[in-house]
Amino acid sequence: MLDINLFKEVTVRTLYEAVPNNLDVYRNGSFEHLLADSSLFLASACKLNEEAALQIDCTAEDDNEVACCLAVTSAVEGVTAYLARDERLWARLTHIEFLNYARTRWPIPKDDEKAISHIRKHMFARGSRGVERDNAISRLWWMTNICSKVSGLSLEQSLEAFLHQSDVRASIIERPTTSQNSVVLSAVVNKLHESYVDDQALFEREKFRGVMKRLNIEGGIRLLEALDSHEIKKVVDKVCTS
């Protein structure tokens, strides 16, 4: 197990500003030389399990998303939800340990201007969107964290259903009533998984949007959080079939 020290704020800021000068390093090189300067880092409780980290891998043809999500929490241990909002952790990991994965999963454009914004999007983690959706590693952690709250399915099954369509995933994440409430989330992801192994009809853009819209209407009249899982399942069954 390796200790993972966070980048200092000033380190992140300096790297962010220096992206235009470091394009070659992002494309072909490595930032491991930074490890020699301890003044760039802050201690943390995170550890890297190098064996598990090898599972976070993909190719140009296969993003291997479910397997990468399954590996991320064992590869990077000691990450709490509090720490997982911290850009200093994810910027360190995408620059040092997972730079190869990040540039394979999110190939850097040849055009320099496009490359600069692409790198800043996937190698740093600015704001909620940056942390949850854009950073090459933090997005894996957060999707896994959300799916780990689903009951009735294995983590792998939840991830399969959750990751199958980006539209569906975004619809869930954008609605805190669903994504933050584990009972509602479980009922919805279970329904998605039923559809995933069957005809996948629920993944049709308009159909799923309609389901979420009806669920919103139900949640506007009744406090779904106050219902038990049996009642919630009835509500979700109703909005999926109407």
């Binding site: 939800a81 584990s182 009744r222 959080e225």
Partner: protein, 276 residues
Amino acid sequence: MKFDRSKTFPYPVLRPYSDDYVDAEFQALAEFVIDEVGIKVACSYQTSSIELQQQIALGFAKYVSIISCRETYFRTVLSTDQAALESILDANSLRGEVTVDAYIVATKDIKNYGSPDINPEFGKKRFNFLPGEILAQDETLSIYIERDLFRPISSVFELVKSDSLSLGEWRVSLEQDHVHIEVSSVMKESIDNNRSSQSVRSVLLNSIYFSAVVHAIQRLKDDSDLQEFKWGKIMERQIHNQHIELATTDAYVIAQKLMKHPLAILNNYILKADYA
């Protein structure tokens, strides 16, 4: 279900800014105490509606508080039939804005509910409620939780040397993440060498630090763009968490609260000692 003053329900809901009830109130409070172990939250509820109190006493409804944190996808539902409850939350599960929404919610089918406080404009006098339907709701409360917010405000101030200043001069610079208090090299060395003394610290807190905090607050009042700096965000959120109105409260009063009344510290270490 967030509080929305413009929302209407097909049944009477006791809420602020609503005239569903003509002469009744529901109020809820949530107080957070943060220490090394975790975050203790104490919720309390009050309603003047006898009929709602009866529904709770009969087991048909409960007080419910939903504590949510969008940044960490945390959400917990606390419910009780008592007027108060306490719970411990994991400090690692909350970060940034934490909201508390409080309700009285039907937990069983309620048939023929009525109250003389319900606005006669509803027309009918008796109502049925399904489990999960709300009988009362209070406004959303919010608090910011960051480890930096619970450190002394002086943690966002940094003493730096400036060779252009003479021995007794000092300046405040706000254009970076920490507030810089600039002093001459000789003064910085002198302060650094004596900082471990409680009495020196109490004097510093009541002199340059207090003045610097007042200055920073005043500038924050005048220019909200300063919240983009770390010190500005922390100061603004500490002010919010202490339920202080930044715009309408004098900077020196806010400074005393943020610094936990430094004059009392001076009294403990200097004034009392002089009288002894």
